[in-house]
Structure formats: C-alpha cells, structure tokens
Symmetry: C2
C-alpha cells in the first residue's frame, strides 16, 4: 500500500492524491486503506521515517565533534549518504509541501531539523556561507531525485556528490 501511495504521490503530488485513488490503484476498498493508515499524512510520515532515522544518527555523530567546520562536513556528507540510500522515497517527497507540514506538526522532527540546521550553520555564517549551505543541501536532494541521473549507480552518485561538496565546503572564503 505504501508502494502504491508513493507511486501516486510521485505522479500527482501528495495534495493531488486521494485515499480513494490509493484504494483504486491496489484494487481494494477505501476502508482497507483506512485500516492501515488513518490519513494521507500518516502515509507521508511512514514513508519519510527511515530518512529521519538516518538523519538522527548523523546528528548524533556530528554533535560529538567540537570543530564547527568538521561538524558541517559530517552533516553535509551524512546528508549525501542518507539521500542516496533513500533515493526513491526522497524523489517522491522532496519539495512536496506535505513534508513541510509533517515536520511542522511533529515536535520531534522539528527539533531534529533544528539540530541538523545548527550543525550546518553553527559557526554563524554570513550570507555567502548560508547560500552555499543551501545550494549544497538542495543540490544533493535534487540530484538524487533527478530523473536525468536515475541511471547513475548509487556509488557513482555518492562519490561525485562527495567530491563536489567537499570542494565547495573547503572554500573558506564562503564561510568567513
């Protein structure tokens, strides 16, 4: 059912998908969908949970490090790892307003994103640093979900993103 829902979310966005459409696509009644998930929001939460679990691990690792530059690097490289690993889910949910709503509605996720953001911006970056962090994180999320590189292997994707991102993060002038 999660599979069917994610396929429909990918085609119509979460907002354009109804529980009825999900029920129809797997040939069951709407009641069967309700039995497993009370709402579309529940489905989005279930699909996104593995990504948030991965992110929680990255945050724990990075917070144990003192140097803010190293923290930032762990946070960004961890993001590459988790996005590549959860490539399919990320492709569907990335950029959908439903994911933002989920985060806003759940205190644990809001806190997690807050801690992750602190790792990225902990050194108190100026405008240039914040733009680079934004470009890098959105670029990672965008690339792993881009149909144009769907045929690139997970390994190649991971390695190239890592090389590019490390090159940018080491350009100290952005973060002064």
């Amino acid at each position: 059912m999660l599979e069917a829902a994610l396929t429909l979310f990918g085609e119509h966005g979460v907002g354009g998908t109804t529980l009825q459409m999900i029920a129809d696509s797997i040939g069951v009644g709407k009641a069967s969908v309700y039995y497993q998930f009370r709402s579309k929001e529940d489905i989005v939460a279930a699909a996104a949970q593995p990504m948030f679990d991965d992110m929680a691990r990255v945050v724990t690792i990075a917070e144990a490090v003192e140097d803010t530059g190293t923290r930032r690097e762990i946070a960004v490289c961890g993001l590459i790892e988790l996005c590549v690993r959860n490539r399919r889910w990320a492709a569907v949910l990335n950029g959908d307003p439903a994911l933002d709503s989920l985060i806003e509605s759940r205190a644990d996720l809001t806190e997690l994103i807050g801690r992750y953001t602190d790792l990225l911006l902990g050194a108190g970056h100026g405008p240039a640093g914040r733009v680079i962090i934004s470009m890098v994180t959105k670029g990672i999320q965008g690339a792993v979900t881009d149909k144009a590189v769907q045929d690139v292997s997970d390994d190649d994707l991971h390695q190239t993103l890592l090389a590019a991102v490390q090159q940018l993060l080491r350009t100290a002038s952005f973060f002064e």
Copy 2:
C-alpha cells in the same frame, strides 16, 4: 488573481489547490476565475512564462558559441540569473509536478528544455559530469527558493551562486 493563486500554490501545492479556493481567497465567484483562466494549468502556464522567456534568451546566446565548455557555463550562469530574477515564482513552482505536466503538454517548452539540456550536456558527459550538472542546476533552483536564505539580497545570492558554480564547472575531472 495570479498573486492569490501563487500564494495558495505555495501553501498547498498546485494539486492541493482548487479554483474554488482561489475564488474564495480573493472574494469573487468561481465564474470570475474561469473568465480569466480556464484551468489551474492556465494559471501555472501564465506564472511560468517569464521564466521560459528568460530561458529562451539564454539558449539563443549560448547556442551562438562554439566551445562546449563555454556553452555549459553560459547555460548555468544564465540559469542563476533567471532564477534569482524570478525568485518568487520559482519558489512556488519549483518541484511541483504541475510544472513537469505543463512542459510535457507544450511542444514549444519541451523543445526549449531539450535545447537547454543539450547546452548543459552537449559534450557528452559521463556519470560524474551529469551528476554535477544535476546538483548545480537543482542547487540553484533550490537555493533561490529556500526560505532559509530569503533574507539574502538578490545581489549576494547571485554573486555567491556564480562563484560556487564556476568553481565546480572548472573542475575538469568531473567532465572527462
């Protein structure tokens, strides 16, 4: 009406917005919305048109250049310029499935995107080059639409993105 529609699209996604919601938000009847736009798709097309006009100009300029590396640079730097300039529209439409549907349904837009993609990938890049192009273009689109850098001025945003992107595009090893 376009303003009201874009605000709602930003909150609910295009799929989650109805013509009735647009009518309600400006306090008119649904017929008044129909009078100006026959469908949500018409509204999306009207909102996106300035971005496509800008892209057509970039494509014309870049295609006049012989060197594939320079073409690629013009295409990417042109994207920065047009995304920063159309920052607000881009924030709403970026990543919405409705924009993909619009492009698929319009031969002129499909052709434009095809020519733009040729400029980016004309040299026949391997996996690494394609991942970089993807990260850079998605990163630009993501950064200009990121709430976290909404307070950064257009000039700072433009300048930082340009410096970062040029640094990546000049790393020849990605494009071998």
